[in-house]
Every structure is written in C-alpha cells, then in structure tokens.
C-alpha cells in the first residue's frame, strides 16, 4: 500500500471521496424530486479515481473533465456550495447558472470544465500542458476520459499529439464498463484501452479504480515523469458506476445484480475504510468525522441552492464576448 500521502492528506482524500458520494446522492434525490433541471450524470462509485489523481495536483495543474464531472470538480478543490448552486441553475453558481452540471468549471482551481461533448476534453487538456510547458509554470494537463470516449477520434489525436510534442500531459481513462447503454467489451475493439493508449507511445499503468492507493501511486509516477519533462503518460482505471448513465436511466442494459454486486463488493469508500483501518493509518473516529462533515456540507449546499436567486433575463446576453 505504498502511498506518498501523509496523515492529513489521507484524511483530506477520504473527506473528498466522501463529499463526492454525499454530493451525488443528494443530487440524485433532488433531481428525482424535480428540483434540478437538465441532464445529470453521477460520479458515485468512481471517487477513488478523481481523488487519487487530483491528490497530486495544484491549482497550476489543469484538468479537462467529462459530462460526469462533479467528482473531478470536488477533487480539484471547487467550492461545493457554488457547484450545487450551479447545478440548480442559480445566479451565484460557479458559472452564473449558465453552465449547469454538464459545463461546470472553475478555472481558478485549474478545472477547465465538465464537457458535454464526448472526447471534448483531451485536446483541451494537452493545450493546458502546452501552456504550462511554454510558460514554464511546472504544471501539467490531465484529461479524464471514459471508456466510451476512448473511441473518439479527438481522444486518439490528443494522445498522438502529446507524444509528438512531448507534452506534460496525463490521460486518465476511467473504464466503468459502459458508454451509455453499450458495454466497453463491444465498443473498444481491442478490448484493452490501456494497451492501445500505450501503443501511441507512452507508458501506461492499469489499476483497479476502486483502490485509491493504486490510483494514487500510478498517478505519482506519471506526474513525476510529466513534470520532469519526460512526456505524457496514461492510466487506465477500472471503475464502477453506481447509478445509471444519467439520473432517471432505467438501466435495462445491465442487470440489477451487477449493480448490487458493485455496491456491495466494489465500493471504493468501503475499501478505503477497511484498508486504512487495517493498517492503522486512520482511526474509525477520524473517518466518521469526515462522513458527518461531508453530509453536513452537502446538505447546507442544497439548502443554499434552494434559497438562491435565479439569474435575471439581463444576464442572458452577457458573457458572450469580452465586450458584452
């Protein structure tokens, strides 16, 4: 269980994972109650990946995200309340209510945006890597990519470009087995996302995405290489999606047994808990505190979101150009 994290960092990591879970559970509920508009895709089940990856990143490092972006945001340090307001479409939301769940972003935190275009982010993330390299910030660019998105031409192009230009970029493939209702066994012709990424000419580590420590370690290596100028790397993390593709998805394409099995035996939070308790790294109390705080923070965010004001129609035509 090699972890480069110290005690406080471990607590933070667990707290973030727990916050993501609480956040997604609340969003699910609020959506089903009709309080959240639009399409919402939940990250629950994949927490260890976002948090394990972002544990190594500062605000100078940039991430490009996906339609399933809440977890990436929280792991990258976005404000939970401002996120919730955004998802509710409120004026004080992280994006003024103009973005919503699928376009949530916080450039100050290096979170370049959820992206409602599958494969939208990888080219952007290598752009951040280029900027970091040229400006000498020491930062890196990270793209989160689903198994479905791994088949998109934009993703492949970004992989090749990153190698050709030797960019400090890291591609994190979150393989949760499905792109909407299509299994990755069918959609990824090669059957091996990691190997394919590797064939583009970069080192790849494949890890169990429910194992925070494995993700964290793989990312430590990739970050080291990227920061020291050795070019891009990739991680394939096998992941689990606890909810449907979107909230409201009847999920006829997968068996309920699969889902209950995932929740029972492949819950990254349970796994983390038992691992740190077993090894004595953290105590039950410390973990419980995080559980409580996470729920409290999210509950407060929901209340705030419900009380917050909508944008007004004068906001409709601002933020189009620098001039208006």
């Amino acid at each position: 269980m090699g972890t480069p994290l110290n005690h406080d960092e471990l607590i933070t990591a667990y707290g973030q994972m727990r916050t993501i879970r609480a956040f997604e559970e609340s969003v699910n509920e609020e959506f089903l109650d009709g309080n959240i508009p639009g399409f919402v895709h939940l990250y629950a089940g994949q927490e260890a990946i976002a948090v394990g990856v972002c544990a190594h990143l500062s605000d100078e490092d940039k991430i490009g995200s996906t339609h399933r972006g809440h977890g990436h945001c929280i792991a990258k340090g976005c404000d939970v309340r401002a996120m919730m307001l955004e998802i509710f479409g409120k004026k004080d939301g992280l994006c003024g209510g103009k973005g919503g769940s699928m376009h949530i972003a916080d450039l100050d935190r290096g979170m370049l945006g959820a992206n409602a275009i599958v494969g939208g982010a990888p080219p952007l993330a290598i752009g951040a890597a280029l900027a970091a390299k040229n400006l000498g910030t020491g930062g890196i660019g990270v793209a989160f990519i689903g198994d479905g998105a791994s088949n998109q031409g934009t993703t492949f192009e970004a992989l090749n470009m990153a190698v050709a230009l030797k960019l400090p970029a890291i591609f994190v493939f979150e393989n949760n087995g499905y792109g909407e209702g299509t299994g990755h066994d069918f959609a990824v012709g090669s059957g091996d996302i990691g190997a394919l990424a590797g064939a583009f000419g970069m080192p790849v580590t494949c890890v169990d995405g429910t194992d925070f420590f494995a993700v964290c370690e793989a990312m430590a290596d990739a970050v080291d290489r990227a920061r020291s100028g050795d070019g891009p790397g990739a991680i394939e993390a096998k992941a689990t999606r606890f909810y449907g593709h979107y909230v409201g998805d009847p999920e006829r394409y997968r068996s309920s047994i699969e889902v209950s099995e995932l929740r029972e035996h492949h819950d990254c939070l349970k796994i983390f808990r038992s691992r740190v308790l077993e090894s004595g790294l953290l105590t039950e109390n410390e973990l419980d505190d995080q559980d409580r705080e996470a729920v409290a923070e999210v509950d407060a965010a929901v209340l705030a979101a419900k009380a917050a004001s909508d944008p007004t129609s004068s906001d409709l035509i601002t933020d189009v150009y620098a001039g208006y």
Binding site: G89, T182, A187, L316
Partner: protein, 337 residues
C-alpha cells in the same frame, strides 16, 4: 388514422421502410442498446427511444449499435450509401456535428457533384435539435442553417407526427443525403397518423393557417408558438397565415412569396441562431423577389446571438415565444411603407 406521438410516428416510418427495403439499415450509438452489457437487448432504442423495438424485428445486422465515434458513423453510412445500402445514421444531438461534419458536408454532400453525377448517396442523418430541456450550450442548438448552407444536402424539420412520418419516408427513399432534424421537445406531441405508408415530398411547405393580414413562417416547435400567437392576434382582429416550410433545403419559397403577395407582411420565426440563419435567408429571398408587394419591414424572431444558457429562467428568455411573435406582427402592422 391513429393518434400517436411524434416519436412513434418516426418509429413507424423506419419500421415500414425497413420492412419494405432491406437495404435500409439504422446506424448509431445505442440505437438498440445493450450490446456488451449484462442486461437486455433492445434496451434503449436510441436515447429518446425512437428506434425502440427495431432491433427485435430486424436484428443487429440492420440495427447497428456503434462505439462513440461520430466521424466513423457518418463516414461509414456515407460509404455504405454510395455502395448499395440506404442507411439511416443517427447523430444523437445536432450539437455533435462538430466531430463529424466533414463526412457529411465534404463527403456525402459532394459526391454526386464531384463525381460528375455518377454517385448517389441515399443517406438520412436523423438528429435532434432544440432548446427547452435545460441541457445548455452543447445539447440544445438548432444548427440546421449550417446544413442548409451546404449545396448537396437536404434538410427536413417536421413540426408534427403526420409530417414527421411522411417526410421521413420520403427522405429514406430519396437518393440524396438528408439531414432530418427532430425537435426533442416535440417527441411527445400527439397527432393523427395513417397506419399505412405515405410520402410527403420534401420541398413543399404546409399552410397551417390562413389569414390575410400577415404571413408568419415558422418551423418545428415554433409552429405551435405561431399558432398561439395567431389566436391572440385573431382576438384583436388580425388574421395570420402561418406557413411551415417543413424542409428548409429545398425551401418552398413559392408558397411563402404567394402568401406575402397577399398579406404584404412577413414575420419569420426561427429557433436557430440569428446570424446567417434561416430567418435572414427567407428575409433575403423575399427582399429580393417580393420587394414590391411588401408593406412593412420584414421581422425576424429568433433567439439572441448567444449560446443556449442552462438556467431555466435564462433558457425561457432565450427561446422565441408567442408573445414575441405577437409583438413582431404588431410592429409590421404599424409600420406601413
């Protein structure tokens, strides 16, 4: 006749055509659903359920789920169309055109011309348009003008179940690439639809309502708003003609101009972006070819020049509605030349 939703009318059109002609295939992401998963087959029928049940009847050889790979979908469909199939390719949201436009506009659209008339590309791209579902900037656009701009493409935008079925059948039987735009808010709209097959020829506008004071041209979801507006106006003694072009390429300018010759006033309602869009396209035609009969400025009712916002309050302000149409009509009534 039975009363069905636009979703079901489209499903009928595909089903009947697939029965009639085995060269017709459906290609797209989750157009059946369930491949490679642990659950049911025929699990989705597309994200909006439009093709539900087709894989059960026609099998996976003809209802073809794909990876998420729109360039390959459109290109594969175009290549198959020029070599003997008659594919219907689904582009889940028209907003995704940016990852596959080349295969549509530089390839499929141009084969016939580039190859001196020796190629046909009987391809239908079914896609969804429209705001109203709070799906924000990348899932709510009405980008049909981008396709109408391109010579070699036909573009269809039905506003009701009857038209949807007849136009989709016509599109499938057509030998040119057709972009078939389904407004997602209209999928649940009900209407009377014959059970048998019928074609509505592309390029013929529908006169939805007749009145002598003003001509309102409106498409897709805007037709309903135009009807609302017409009722409000009728209460004030203003009688509107409403024309639904149904297809914007080819565009039935004749019907529009005939009406304007009668009314002398034109309002075009369009959910697409205002710049270089359909509203201006029609206005430009009329200002050139029916200028002499115009009694007032041509009014265009469109969203502002902004991306589609997420927040419901903003989105509601964004989408043209009956009030804005009424205002536009009244403006044309005031300003005599």
């Amino acid at each position: 006749m039975t009363t069905v939703s636009m979703r079901d009318a489209l499903n009928q059109a595909m089903r009947e055509e697939m029965r009639r002609d085995e060269r017709v295939v459906l290609i797209g992401e989750d157009v059946s659903g369930g491949l490679g998963g642990t659950g049911e087959d025929d699990a989705m029928g597309g994200v909006f359920g439009v093709s539900q049940g087709l894989v059960s009847e026609f099998g996976r050889e003809r209802v073809i789920d794909t990876p998420i790979t729109e360039s390959a979908i459109m290109g594969m469909a175009a290549g198959a169309a020029m070599t003997g199939l008659r594919p219907i390719a689904e582009l889940m949201f028209i907003d995704f055109m940016g990852v596959c436009f080349d295969q549509i506009f530089n390839q499929a659209a141009k084969f016939r011309y580039m190859f001196g008339g020796k190629a046909a590309t009987p391809l239908v791209v079914r896609t969804t348009i429209g705001a109203g579902f709070r799906t924000a900037a990348q899932h709510s656009q009405s980008l049909y003008a981008l396709f109408a701009h391109i010579p070699g493409l036909k573009v269809v935008i039905p506003s009701n179940p009857y038209d949807a079925k007849g136009l989709l059948i016509d599109a499938i039987r057509d030998d040119d690439p057709v972009i078939f735009c389904e407004h997602k808010v209209l999928y649940d709209t009900m209407g009377d639809v014959p059970e048998e097959s019928y074609r509505i020829p592309m390029g013929e506008a529908n006169i939805v309502r007749s009145g002598t004071d003003v001509t309102i041209v409106a498409l897709a979801r805007m037709v309903g708003f135009a009807l609302e507006a017409a009722e409000l106006l009728a209460a004030k003694g203003v009688e509107s003609t409403i024309i639904d072009p149904r297809t914007i390429s080819p565009l039935d300018m004749e019907t529009i101009i005939e009406s304007v010759e009668e009314t002398g006033r034109l309002v075009v309602v369009d959910e697409g972006y205002p710049r270089c869009g359909l509203a201006s396209d029609i206005a430009g035609e009329v200002a050139e070819h029916a200028f002499g009969v115009l009694k007032a400025p041509i009014k265009r009712v469109t969203p502002p020049h902004t991306p589609v916002p997420f927040s419901p309050t903003l989105e509601d302000a964004y989408i043209p509605d009956a009030c804005r149409i009424v205002d536009a009509v009244q403006a044309t009534l005031k300003q005599e030349r």
